[in-house]
């Protein structure tokens, strides 16, 4: 997995421009749920694995698109009825974005199982090692600053 700073920074960079034209009452809250969706596959699995590695066999399905579909459906039900659909879309699209980013990194022994539990076929582009992505954090932070300057400048001009 890339580190979670990369996940959240890139999720901000892809979601923030959607506020270019107009901003509804739920736009910012749903963007925050999108961030949550992008870190959810890792925070549900990695801490347990790092503390006690044998848990991986049990928690691994939560790091797959199908497992996250179930989790996001479950989380959606905790929201107020008028927010549920949007909350689900934000959380699940965030999770899928997480798997897309994970698919870019190099593995030696296994790849991303995007079709689990229907297939063990591995996917992934094997572009970079996860540790090398860490070195790009300053780039993401710089791009966020540039994006925020542009977004706020536009808001000041157009009101």
């Amino acid at each position: 997995m890339p580190d979670l700073v990369t996940h959240v920074a890139l999720s901000h960079l892809v979601s923030r421009p959607f506020e270019w034209r107009h901003q509804k009452k739920t736009t910012v809250p749903m963007r925050i749920l999108f961030y949550l969706g992008t870190i959810l596959p890792d925070i549900l699995t990695r801490p347990w694995y790092i503390i006690y590695p044998p848990t991986m066999e049990w928690t691994y399905p939560l790091h797959t698109p199908f497992g996250m579909l179930i989790i996001c459906l479950m989380l959606m039900l905790f929201f107020k009825s008028d927010l549920r659909k949007k909350a689900f879309l934000a959380l699940y699209s965030g999770s899928l974005f997480h798997f897309f980013l994970d698919g870019l990194q190099t593995h030696l022994t296994y790849t991303e199982h995007w079709l689990y539990p229907f297939s063990w076929r591995g996917f992934g582009l094997h572009i970079m090692w996860a540790e090398d992505i860490l070195l790009l954090i300053p780039v993401w932070l710089f791009l966020i600053v540039v994006l925020e300057i542009i977004m706020r400048g536009r808001k000041r001009i157009h009101g």
Binding site: D3, L4, V5, H7, V8, K25, T26, V28, P29, I32, L33, Y35, L36, I39, D42, I43, R46, Y49, I50, Y52, P53, P54, M56, E57, W58, T59, Y60, P61, L62, F66, G67, I70, I71, L73, M74, L77, F78, F79, K80, S81, L83, A87, T106, H107, L108, T109, Y110, P117, W120, W129, A130, E131, L134, I137
Partner: protein
């Protein structure tokens, strides 16, 4: 009805976990050491937080968390004791593994620690934006969000 659905989805998640323990094709060092004859020549695909232990002229000792350590035969160029390692390696029934390809994850500890920050940030943003309504038992937007 909502709580029944949540319960059913939770049971499904547990079922997926159980299904994974039964069907995953991964081969661990522990599997190999339990039945060396059956796993002779097989590719080991699952390691548990593998660390480089003592380095020898022709390899190193692989240390795992909550799993057995094992002697590894590999090119030792670039190896650093105490660092995390990723490997493609073949098990031999004599009780060692032979590396086909190897990657020393020098910055993995930094990656783990740096990943804690966004968890707190997103958690804070969620708490600032949403609240739990005790009457409806639902998450809703804070009025000032």
């Amino acid at each position: 009805m909502r709580w029944i659905l949540i319960l059913l989805l939770f049971i499904t998640v547990c079922g997926l976990g159980y299904y994974n323990t039964r069907t995953s094709p991964w081969i661990s060092v522990a599997d190999c050491l339990e039945d060396p004859e059956a796993y002779d020549g097989k590719l080991v695909t699952r390691y548990r937080e593998p660390l480089i232990g003592e380095i020898f002229a022709d390899g190193f000792q692989l240390i795992q968390k909550n799993a057995p350590s094992i002697r590894v035969y590999a090119d030792t160029t670039g190896l650093i004791s105490g660092k995390f390692v990723g490997m493609r390696a073949v098990f031999h029934k004599q009780g060692y593994i032979e590396v086909r390809s190897l990657h020393v994850a020098k910055r993995r500890r930094y990656k783990i620690w740096i990943s804690v920050l966004p968890v707190f940030l997103v958690g804070f943003l969620c708490l600032k934006t949403f609240r739990w309504n005790q009457k409806t038992h639902c998450v809703e937007l804070r009025t000032n969000a």
